[in-house]
C-alpha cells in the first residue's frame, strides 16, 4: 500500500511539473484523518505554474457536518521529501471562529503531523498524526473519534 501512496503523491507532483491540464479538474480527493479526532479532510490540489510546484487547495470536512476548506501547499525546502500544507477549515467552532491548520506530510508514505487551532483562542492548539486514507471516495466516512471543532 505504501507504494500506491507514493505513486499517487508523486503523480500529483508530476502533474504539476507537466503543467495544468483538463485532467486536473477531475482529480480525486486525497484524504487524511486528523487523529485522534474523527474528522476526515478531503483535499483536492490544483497545481499552479511549473516547478517548483505550488498548489491551491480546495476541500471539504464532512464527517460531522459540511465544512469547506481552502489553502495552499508546497514541497519542503528546509525539510526535503515533505509536503507543507496550510489550510482553513471553515467550520464554525465554539466561540464563533474557524479552524486553521499547518501540516507536514512525508512524500514517502503520505502520513505526517498536524497542528490546528481556533484563531484567537489560546486553548485552541491541537496536534497529532495526520493519517493518510487511501482510496478516499468522497463519502463522509465513519467517525473514529470526536469532532475537533467541539472536542478539545
Amino acid at each position: 500500500m505504501p507504494k500506491k501512496i507514493l505513486i499517487a503523491l508523486f503523480s500529483l507532483l508530476a502533474v504539476s511539473v507537466i503543467g495544468p491540464s483538463p485532467a486536473q479538474a477531475q482529480a480525486p480527493d486525497f484524504c487524511w484523518n486528523v487523529s485522534p479526532f474523527g474528522n476526515i479532510l478531503k483535499l483536492r490540489f490544483l497545481a499552479v505554474g511549473s516547478a517548483p510546484v505550488r498548489f491551491l487547495i480546495s476541500g471539504v470536512d464532512d464527517v460531522f457536518s459540511d465544512n469547506s476548506i481552502e489553502g495552499g501547499a508546497s514541497p519542503g525546502v528546509n525539510e526535503p521529501g515533505t509536503l507543507r500544507i496550510g489550510f482553513r477549515d471553515n467550520a464554525i467552532a465554539g466561540g464563533g471562529t474557524e479552524i486553521e491548520c499547518n501540516v507536514v506530510i512525508s512524500l514517502a508514505d503520505g502520513n505526517g503531523t498536524y497542528a490546528c487551532w481556533r484563531d484567537i483562542f489560546h486553548d485552541g492548539l491541537i496536534s497529532g498524526p495526520f493519517v493518510f486514507i487511501p482510496g478516499c471516495t468522497g463519502v463522509p466516512g465513519v467517525p473514529t473519534g470526536p469532532d475537533m471543532r467541539t472536542a478539545r
Binding site: 499552479v48 489553502g71 496550510g86 489550510f87 499547518n102 497542528a115 484567537i120
Partner: protein, 148 residues
C-alpha cells in the same frame, strides 16, 4: 482619455510581468525582516482581474501561504494582496495574516502583517526580489513569526 488608457495598459503590462500565470514565483522580502514570500498567482475570470495566490515562505522554515490579489481601485496602478502565512505561533496559537500594496511601476510596496486579533502587528517595505529561484535565500533579518 488617451493618457488614461495608456496608464491602464501600462498597469496591466506591469501586472502581467509581476504575476505571470506561466508559473514562476514572484518574490518579495518583508523588510526589515528576513522573511521572503514566494507567491504564485492564478488569474480568475475576466477583467477586472482577480488572482488566487498560492505560495511559500521558507527562509526560516517551510510555511504554506495562500490568499488573493486584485488591482487597486482607490489607489490605481497598485496591486493589493492579502494572504495567510501558516507560520505557527504557539505562544498565541495563531498564524500571520498580511496585507500588502505593490506599485505596479516598480514591483515594490509596503506590507502590514499581524497575529490575528492579538493586536501585535508589524509593517515595512515590501521589496521585490528579482529572479527568485525558489531556494530559501540568505537570511537578512529576524523571523517575522517570532520577532515583532
Amino acid at each position: 482619455m488617451l493618457k488614461r488608457t495608456l496608464v491602464m495598459v501600462c498597469a496591466l503590462l506591469a501586472a502581467s510581468a509581476l504575476v505571470s500565470s506561466a508559473g514562476a514565483d514572484t518574490c518579495w522580502q518583508l523588510s526589515p525582516r528576513g522573511n521572503m514570500v514566494k507567491l504564485r498567482f492564478l488569474p480568475v475570470g475576466p477583467a477586472p482581474f482577480r488572482f488566487l495566490i498560492t505560495g511559500v515562505e521558507d527562509v526560516f522554515t517551510d510555511r504554506a501561504v495562500n490568499g488573493s490579489a486584485s488591482f487597486g481601485f482607490h489607489e490605481p496602478n497598485t496591486l493589493r494582496l492579502g494572504f495567510t502565512d501558516y507560520a505557527i505561533d504557539p505562544a498565541n496559537t495563531s498564524h500571520l495574516e498580511c496585507n500588502a500594496s505593490v506599485v505596479l511601476a516598480t514591483g515594490n510596496g509596503t506590507w502590514t502583517c499581524w497575529i490575528d486579533v492579538m493586536g501585535t502587528s508589524a509593517s515595512g517595505d515590501f521589496v521585490l526580489v528579482p529572479g527568485c529561484v525558489g531556494v530559501p535565500g540568505i537570511v537578512t533579518g529576524p523571523d517575522l513569526a517570532t520577532v515583532r
